[in-house]
Amino acid sequence: MDPARQLVRLGDFARKDGLPFARDLLRKARGALDGVASSLLGREVEERLRRVSIELAPSGVDPFGWDPEYARYVIAAATVLSRSYFRTVVSGIEHMPQGRVILVANHSGQIPLDGVIIAISVFLEAEPPRIVRAMVEKWSQTLPFISTFFAKCGQVVGVPENAALLLQRGEPLLVFPEGTRGLAKTFQHRYELTDFGLGFMRLALATDTPILPVAVIGAEEQYISVANMKSVAKALHMPSFPIIPQLFLPGGQLPLPTRYRLEFGDPLYFRGDPDDDDAVIEEKVWVVKATIQSMLNRGLMERKSLFF
């Protein structure tokens, strides 16, 4: 017996007899989602999405798999998250240069919601609207659904070739030079920048790209981590193993609804040899790090309340 036929029969059964209900439900859910998406956002998102200047292939996606038809749902969800949940305040977005740019931000909050908020803020506030590209772990490509989700939202695999190609296409690239070191910071070290990687600076020098420093305030307090069990993380092959007491409280699994404050600084321009010694590159990276740290310090001083 042809196993493929067996599968079809199974598939047919599932489709035609077993789950017409589920299909109906799915259609209704999608209709409702469409309704919710457009009623929540009005025409704004649709109109901004149309103005995004990314060249699409005839199949309706860009070369990296960014799919505007799919991305609009994610954008709708992220807009709700940013506007209603975190009530993000954005300043300095007018500093965003046209064409290629590397956004460098501090990384915090145990899960990378700061990336989502930066991306959606650039989409909603920058003129013209732009799709921020971030680099995702190579390992994420081995995961079903997640790999597809990232690709359709315009996130690309973190290899230098992809970064260079995106910049060459004039797209904004989001980089967290602290990586998981920043993400997994415990509460007592909040808003202290950890070591910056050097890769972004070499990339900026090689492609002659301006760097836009971004300070994110509010993400540090969304999950309060009291400790990071490095040995457990190592044993479980996880990047970190934070101890977050709020997770054991009812509803504490959601991040705390702190107010996000995003500040976009003046773009920084660097010149030099991308293959220079680490010491030379480090000096330039230090300029970026100091800029972000002082933006953070100023922002924290001006902040009156964590939640309002």
């Binding site: 196993p3 599968l7 790999s147």
Partner: protein
């Protein structure tokens, strides 16, 4: 001669070739040990030798070229429906007779399509055919100073991997064999051609690495798109490039131009997600969780009830796309077929 060759193109070359060559099987002279080229009349138009000419791609290439230049085919299979002006030698490229073809003929170029990709063949046969066979060809090309050799390699030598850049350049490492050992001899063939490129700067070596070739050809990607029910991996939808066989044939023609040398990735129309490509075929699909797909496919493959070995699942899981900028700039190559045309062409082949 045949009505075919005179059809609109009075082809005198065909007659000369048959006149000078005589019966190909009589050319197997006893002095085949001597390496010196036989005296060849300089008026003879140089020929293009195509190995593996009987395959569907080889036939297409031969049909396209034989009106403009002399074509000689070498293949172990008989060439049925051969245009009369093509000389065909039904021989194994590893045999000495192949050398006699090279020795007794003026040859302007060799197009090596005779790379076996069939994973069902025994590993030993596969390996000696691909590696030893190609080594022989290279040896003859060097010995008889044939000005050009074109190898049809494949983008599969890079391999589908989770950490691949979206578009691989020609300098990317050939890691295709890491997960899929059957690819190793294709990688080796590609490497042989690369070292030949450096050892013999006087000979123009061209390596073409096309993405998935689709059309009437009987290769894994076309067969996959011909399945009545196309299995995909649940939750995976990589971006995929395909190239129509006609576009590839044109690219081979461009690679034969004098002065062209080096490695060229070849891609077809802009990439599309696998799901869109499968949808274009209009066939049913079954998404299978990847944790089950491997264990399910392994016994089926062992019993030859499936025509795809397990490591090929990576092609529907990870990206393996190439940057064909060099081919566009240097060869002047540009694909003429859209994604829809390319994908639909696999079904046309069924009724041929």
């Amino acid at each position: 001669m045949s009505t075919r060759s005179t059809n609109g193109h009075p082809h005198s070359v065909a007659e000369t070739s048959d006149a000078t060559m005589g019966d190909p099987y009589e050319a197997d002279a006893p002095d085949s040990d001597g390496g010196a080229p036989l005296p060849i009349s300089s008026t003879e138009e140089p020929a293009v030798v195509i190995t593996g000419i009987v395959g569907r791609l080889g036939r297409r290439l031969a049909r396209r070229m034989h009106r403009d230049r002399r074509v000689i085919g070498i293949d172990r299979r008989p060439f049925e429906g051969r245009p009369k002006d093509i000389t065909h030698y039904q021989i194994d490229i590893r045999r000495k007779k192949t050398r006699d073809v090279f020795r007794s003929t003026r040859i302007s170029a060799v197009v090596h399509l005779g790379v076996m990709h069939d994973p069902r063949a025994s590993a030993a046969d596969h390996h000696t055919w691909n590696v030893a066979g190609f080594q022989k060809i290279l040896e003859y090309v060097a010995l008889y100073q044939i000005p050009k050799i074109v190898l049809l390699s494949s983008a599969n030598v890079y391999g589908p991997r989770p950490d691949n850049p979206q578009f691989l350049s020609e300098d990317a490492p050939l890691l295709g064999g890491a997960a899929f050992s059957e690819i190793r001899d294709l990688v080796e063939v590609d490497m042989l051609a690369q070292s030949f490129f450096w050892k013999h700067p006087e000979i123009e070596t061209v390596i073409l690495r096309p993405v998935h070739i689709v059309g009437t050809v009987r290769n894994a990607p076309s067969n996959y798109l011909r399945l009545n029910v196309i299995p995909t991996l649940l939750g995976f939808d990589p971006m995929v490039q395909v190239i129509h066989e006609e576009d590839l044939v044109r690219a081979i023609g461009l690679a034969l131009k004098p002065g062209v040398r080096g490695i060229f990735n070849l891609a077809g129309p802009p990439p599309a997600p696998l799901s869109r490509i499968v949808k274009t075929t209009g066939r049913a699909t079954v998404p299978i969780p990847h944790a089950l797909a491997g264990p399910m496919l392994a016994p089926l493959w062992r019993l030859r009830m499936a025509s795809f070995p397990v490591p090929e699942l990576d092609h529907v899981r990870y990206v393996c796309m190439v940057d064909d900028g060099r081919a566009r700039a240097t060869l002047g190559y540009a694909p003429s077929k859209s994604m829809e045309e390319s994908v639909r062409a696999v079904s046309e082949g069924l009724w041929e």
